[in-house]
């Protein structure tokens, strides 16, 4: 495990990476701005193109950061909770529930606000369903939790496919973009950021206990961890983080799976560094991916989820192949 000084250094470096990615996101796009114009707008001494960019691109960049950070944090938490390196924020059906909610909103042509509300409600409903069913006999072991989540996710997938196949042609495009993850419709960034701050503040005090939880429930309890309470807290935090991210940006894939692994490879598995490190790295990655998504074939925009998956699949296969057994 890294010493406290090294841990702080790693986190500062990652924070700088986040700052750089956001500056890049502000500079790049159909409307070119120079760093000087941007600086003038930030310091408030001039308006014009710099100010416009700040008004339009900053909320989107902040939303991208918050969602990427939430997904990576949720992924890291789920991997410890299920003690399964292949777990991701979506494995327990939360994005499926959000998807069903959002799809029904889009299916009936409701307003954007209603779609977001339905997505969040769907995510919460899936979370309660999975927890309630997995807890049925009081045990809620990892296996039971995982199986319940996978089954609920499969059911949600079927409902989503059903709505897609019945939807009017004009609405399918929007539905597909939501499912692949898209920040083009996102201008409200603060709810996701708020959930991110809360999730980090609530999970960091338990970080060392999470290190022990990875080694088995009985073993963790023998080392003095209140296992039942900890698992409940982790489940709720990871679920809320996922729900907030999915509501803001749709189901963006692979950030939650790959980023914790990348950070783990670089700095080890100490959750005290891994949790904030994964959040920062996930945020930076999604800001960069979203910048690419809106500039690669401009003026047309790509769903950012496609880009993260295209980057994520080969990276993950590579990691899987070199993972020692």
């Amino acid at each position: 495990m890294p010493s406290p000084r090294r841990a702080a250094l790693i986190l500062v470096l990652l924070a700088l990476l986040v700052l750089l990615s956001i500056v890049l996101a502000l500079l790049v796009g159909s409307l070119q701005v120079t760093p000087a114009e941007l600086w003038a707008a930030v310091t408030g001494s001039a308006s014009g193109s710099g100010g416009l960019v700040l008004e339009l691109r900053l909320p989107r960049a902040l939303a991208a950061f918050a969602c990427g950070a939430l997904l990576a944090l949720a992924g890291a938490l789920m991997q410890v909770l299920l003690r399964n390196p292949l777990a991701d924020p979506y494995v327990l059906g939360i994005s499926g529930g959000a998807g069903v909610g959002a799809m029904s909103g889009l299916f009936f042509g409701l307003s954007l606000w209603a779609v977001d509300a339905l997505a969040f409600a769907g995510a919460l409903l899936a979370m309660l369903t999975v927890f309630g069913l997995a807890r049925g006999d009081g045990s809620w072991t990892q296996t039971r939790l995982l199986l319940t989540g996978v089954i609920v996710a499969a059911g949600c997938g079927a409902l989503i496919a059903l709505m897609l196949s019945l939807a009017e042609d004009g609405r399918v495009h929007g539905m597909l973009f939501w499912l692949m993850g898209d920040l083009g419709q996102t201008f409200i960034w603060w709810p996701a950021m708020l959930v991110l701050v809360v999730a980090l503040l609530c999970s960091l005090p338990f970080a060392r206990e999470l290190n022990l939880l990875a080694r088995g429930l009985l073993q963790a309890q023998a080392f003095g961890v209140a296992v039942g309470r900890l698992r409940f807290i982790v489940y709720v935090l990871a679920s809320l983080a996922t729900a907030a991210a999915v509501t803001t940006a749709g189901s963006i894939g692979f950030v939650g799976l790959v980023v914790p692994h990348l950070v783990r490879l670089a700095i080890g598995n100490d959750q005290r560094v891994l949790l904030p490190g994964a959040a920062l790295a996930g945020g930076a990655l999604l800001v960069l991916a979203d910048t690419a998504a809106r500039t690669l074939i401009a003026p047309q925009q790509l769903p950012v989820g496609v880009l993260t998956a295209l980057i994520g699949v080969p990276v993950f296969l590579f990691l899987l192949a070199r993972q020692p057994r």
Binding site: P85, N211, F223
Partner: protein, 260 residues
Amino acid sequence: MSGPYVAPLAARQLVVEVGGRRVIDGLDLNVAAGECLGILGRNGAGKSTLLTTLAGLRPPAQGEVLLAGTPYPQLNPRAAALQRGWLGQFQQDPFGASVLETALAGRHPHLGRWDWESAADGAKVREALSLLGLAGMEQRQVHTLSGGERQRLALATLLVQAPGVYLLDEPLSHLDLNHQMAVLRLFSQLAHTQGAAVVMVLHEPALAHRFCDRALLIHGDGRCVQGTADETLTAAKLSELYAYRLRQISDGDQRCFIPE
């Protein structure tokens, strides 16, 4: 010092069930400081389940387990971890970790929520690793260890935790003869010179007789036999326990049991 003696570990009218089957029925047990107790029985007799119950990791069907006089439900997990350590049969490492990180886990109950492991904690780990023949392996990844090395790392982690009560489930598994003797010597010394209470599940009656002061034979149908090692570890009682005839050979104080 006054007042009645309180055993570091005690069970009162303990009932343990496994899958609806009553394997322990009304067990009264005291493990004194400075004492080494061996638990023997057939596969599936409930030895491991009894041990997890004694460790407070599993609620008993009836009765109670007292740690220094306090029942487990009245102890928070951290307070319990300062007093008793438990070695499970299986060590799980789904994510990679170094030997040092793995052994430092033993310090967890001793640290506050925001504390970071100190140099003193690192020194404790190095001392424990060298006691178990793992000196110099701090930076090795756990998944590169052999089964015996992983087992000794788990034992070292327990020494780092430094409780007063040790509950060891098959501490000798995966160990070669040399390390079996070293581990038994280490824990019987912990009991006899430092006043620890040691309970271990063993499969070798001769070693149990040599290193344990008392033995608890678990028949798996609720019946338990306990007593000094000399009176419980005999050919007659062990033959009944394992449902296999054993012959006893004595050499001085030591006993050896040969399957017929």
